[in-house]
Symmetry: D2
Subunit: 371 residues, 4 copies
């Protein structure tokens, strides 16, 4: 049905060691993982130049923007067609929906989202500012003296709290600091998608409602402990979970969503500095394993699903690029997975209904697991 090999090929074409920068100070590389919580905050809002200065001692190891032309192989057109803006949610077919609903036996709902509030951990300079205008906002009107409240919210709406990355969120600058070639999902260029008032293409409004089968990988159960900052989840870990959780070997099917219970979410709103300093998560190896299963979305109880800093100190959020830009697969961050794990739920009906915010890079939501 699709040319899966071709896509996998492009991944193979970009071996990790080709992306290494010669002559990097290995001492600085050794310092990776020493980032303070503040560093993450600073880094993400930082200018590229200063980010490079900090990179050697922080979140992204000594990753530095690459000289022009060095970034690798084109990943487009997408398997969904050269004009596609929908990505992997194309796989959410009526048949997938019917299959997923069959998993619902009791009607129990697991709420997989955190409340949105200003105290939640936020990355870089992102903000969450909510105000209630007036007290009340309006009224009284009429003999019935009706009054009402509104709320005014100023925030990176698709990139704070429990949020799903859309396809316009992540790209690659093929020529590094020279911004003349920046590419996104399906090869769309910055000129094609960028806009000060909303992305012109790849806005999250293109994403289909997600009602499909979800699978939880419980690494806390597997390891008997929360995973650690910088701990990479391997394919062997994934397979160990499948065995331990008694899932069929072929449990993960095209159109499914997968979730990681790492324990990192236990820090949410309790130790935000530690939460944002880095995280355990998957690396490129496990990402490619999931990609080979043709999934729609990967979610986790931490803020990037991937291991941060990456064990390859030259790489900054490579899993985001691999999933979103190269494969049209969504990332769902800051989920609540602990209750599912506590109840031993491995497979469920997952429902996430992304807001159609025109030109937005992601969506908040209230994802649920139904069993």
């Amino acid at each position: 049905m699709r040319d899966h090999d071709g896509r996998a090929q492009s991944v193979t074409d970009q071996p990790a060691d080709e992306t290494m920068i010669d002559g990097v100070d290995t001492d600085r590389r050794a310092m990776m993982g020493l980032a303070t919580g503040g560093l993450v905050s600073t880094l993400l809002g930082m200018t590229p130049t200063s980010a490079q200065a900090a990179a050697g001692i922080g979140l992204v190891g000594n990753a530095q923007a690459q000289p022009a032309g060095a970034t690798g192989t084109p990943w487009w057109p997408s398997k969904y067609g050269k004009d596609d803006q929908v990505g992997a949610t194309n796989l959410i077919t009526p048949a997938k929906i019917l299959d997923a609903l069959k998993l619902v036996k009791t009607g129990k709902v697991y709420d997989m989202s955190h409340p949105y509030e200003s105290s939640m951990p936020k990355f870089g300079e992102r903000a969450f500012v909510l105000r209630i205008p007036g007290g009340p906002t309006g009224g009284p009107l009429g003999a019935n003296n009706v009054i009402w409240h509104d709320e005014f919210l100023a925030t990176e709406i698709g990139q704070v709290g429990t949020q799903m990355d859309g396809l316009g969120h992540i790209g690659m600058a093929f020529k590094g600091e020279d911004r003349s070639e920046m590419r996104f999902y399906n090869g769309f260029t910055a000129a094609e998608i960028s806009g000060a008032y909303g992305l012109k293409k790849l806005g999250v409004e293109n994403v289909k409602p997600i009602v499909t089968t979800g699978h939880l990988f419980d690494f806390v159960g597997l390891k008997g402990r929360n995973l650690n900052l910088g701990e990479e989840i391997t394919v062997a870990d994934l397979e160990a979970c499948i065995t331990r959780q008694k899932m069929p070997a072929d449990a993960i099917k095209s159109g499914d969503c997968v979730f990681l219970n790492t324990g990192w979410g236990s820090l949410w709103n309790k130790d935000n500095a530690q939460f944002t300093k880095g995280e355990p998560g998957i690396g490129l190896e496990a990402a490619k394993w999931f990609i080979s299963k043709d999934i729609v979305l990967i979610g986790a109880d931490q803020w990037a699903i991937e291991v941060v800093p990456n064990p390859d100190a030259n790489l900054a959020f490579p899993v985001h690029q691999e999933l979103i830009a190269k494969n049209g697969i969504h990332i769902h961050e800051n989920l609540v997975t602990a209750e599912l794990a506590a109840d031993g739920v491995s497979t469920f009906c997952y429902i996430m209904l992304p807001l159609k915010i025109k030109g937005a890079t992601g969506s908040p939501g209230r994802p649920i697991a139904l069993v």
Copy 2:
């Protein structure tokens, strides 16, 4: 299981003619319906005093805030208990969810939401302002030259576009302009719920995920035309729909949601001035009929579900008060119902997952109908 009569009684205790103001100029009453689109915009953002001045010629007829003490009977405690903040979504039980999922036969999804964009009709002074910081927002970082986009949104997030009113949205000022007694759902006072940085109680984060049975009342099909501004939907209309759509007489059950296809939504982003000038919808009679069915939510393809201006020119948004404040029933506005109607879908599985925005008065969403 519950004392339904008691609640209905409190409704009966407040007859419409008790809320009339003596000596109102009937000529001014006659002018109702002459509002311009601009008036609505102005009114909702207007001070109570100026709103009263305009009321005689506008949106809310000659409705005027009532003198102190005149507003009627307490409606609390709620049937869900004196401390309840969940309201009618308490009725979404596992059993209801299982029942609703049984309605899904084909896996077809109807998207019932509009895109969120600055051009959409907005009420009063509400705003929707989206910006993409930077181009891109961040990067390039790493040898992989990752770049990313965020979006920054400033808006009345729970009160623009396709949105569901939470229980803190609507209340009553018992003493009119004297704000010393303002009451909300379950009798919570302004002192208990108001907060400049988010409602302290009745925030939309309390609402449960909604997965239940939905019913569409197709008035366009019934009348063979779109309904008109100020046209009230009566109980007779509801019953005629049930008959015409071949629904069982007892189709509407406790815990269900109901939807109105009025045709008014055809104006969305086409003639926003007309769309916001007023609307067809239910009045108190039909509202009470739905309340007697113990529903969770009423939605419509217009902006308030209720008829505006109200045929009783003294009343301003009385259905909002009746449903939200007095009965804990949600209102879902600016829905897309035309496609369901076109396909003759009367009953379906309705899924709406309200965002848990702490202290917010409502929620955006991407409601869907599954059949």
Copy 3:
């Protein structure tokens, strides 16, 4: 020209001991001054109820909202007339301006403002969020390929950074938690001035441009050290400054502005937690001395000009009330005064041009001293 005695009388009518709450736990009172930086942040954004709970151990001592009816004597009408919204800037006459300009001998400019940036200390939950939409925001257009940048700012614009309080900022709830009588400058009620979309009266747009004589009181020079948190500046201190700085005894004249160099500003953007924890400043005694001089504005190198916490643990920001609400005198916060003090400048031409933001409670600005 004015009935100064009458106004002073109203101050005398409200002796400090009348505002004491009987039976306050003196142990809790003793804990005042122990506030953490975080407490200030929390307090200002906090609900009244929780603020009371924290009050005994924090910023405002054990100050508690007073039972209804206890708050004291009406302070209106203002000496500028019962409808006045201009306040003490009425005193900025052409003659005052000419007098002030005569002080300019060298043309040297002292910039008395901090840059506005997200890292600056902010009080309570106030936010400062700036984004550059797009990169660039617009263009290229034309054969000349013009491009442009805008900025988008979301903030409490009149209440962050170097800012001047307008007359609608501060009031008194005469009945405590019962909000049925809240009064502001000139006795305007909450019903008269409140509005969700901007104050209806007393907005900062009413304030006149300020070009007048300014005087710096250099307490750092006087004491040979920075003042301490909670250290009250007394009238004796003011008089000692006048002597030390060789100002004439009658230096402070009607229509002048006065400024406090406390040294607290040295913490700005260096130790924000300490900066916001409290501060040295004037109490009611010195405030009344300045009021008796008929000044227009008091500014300081800290965030409230007044001593925080107040030595009378029952009082919360009483100087704000005394100056703004009762006397229409402005407060200018977070100024830069160190350079003036270092150069031994005591008297200068002060220029502050408040933005006419309709309905705002204060104004940012770039105040300067000209010598």
Copy 4:
């Protein structure tokens, strides 16, 4: 003192006809000036591609982004040094300030700003959204029952209402749609100045306080009527004003500011659609005349100081580029000049104190004229 000729030369090096695009449809050129108010709004927020599509019938004539490499001669380094970020406000010296203050004879203040309010004309998709959080925002606290109001503002703060353009606002894309070479004042590149969270260079915080001599050119007085949309002010008009207003031939000196009273400001908040549709103003000829006088700032009672659409239909806002990017001269828009003109004031002390909003592209303000 400076190499003025060299700079003038670079202007001469770029004759208008070199910037013409061959083969432009002259019929489309003839349509310029037919723009609707809505077109301006749309255009400024529009994507470059769609802007080009509209250009032939609208605001910027048939201006189209130029093919790569065609845009002309470098204009850097600036005469103030290759690292300068201050621009023409470098000319505001103590001596200039003293000279300007000598013009003040009566102490009369002319307020040259409009109030900032949501109803004001705004360009493109710019927004102005003000809310008062809570009612009140905080309190009551203490036995003194203090309460307070804040305001929350979300807006393009430096680019709405009466506002002064900073040096980071305007640039040129040397290669048109290929954004690999975008230059600003002093040749700073996009890579050097762009930042999602504020400009990294050329932020308005670099601008010095402006206290200098101002001159009003009263074209309404000269012509006996308001100027018309698209009417270009010529050097002959400037000279006619000087003669009619009895200014010395050499009235305009280095470091001065100049202002245009066109009458267009009479539309402000009265006919916003017409106000924003285009405007009378100076073209490149008059701009260069002013540049030759070594001024600091040009202001006007309209929204861009320059004629819109430009008589050369290929050019989009060329005067902005000439003044800001090439010469570091500020533009002050949406000023109130009518009262000065009515009183026959030609020369005055001008005071504008730009806010130091770090990384912002412009500043609001409350400019005044003192006489």
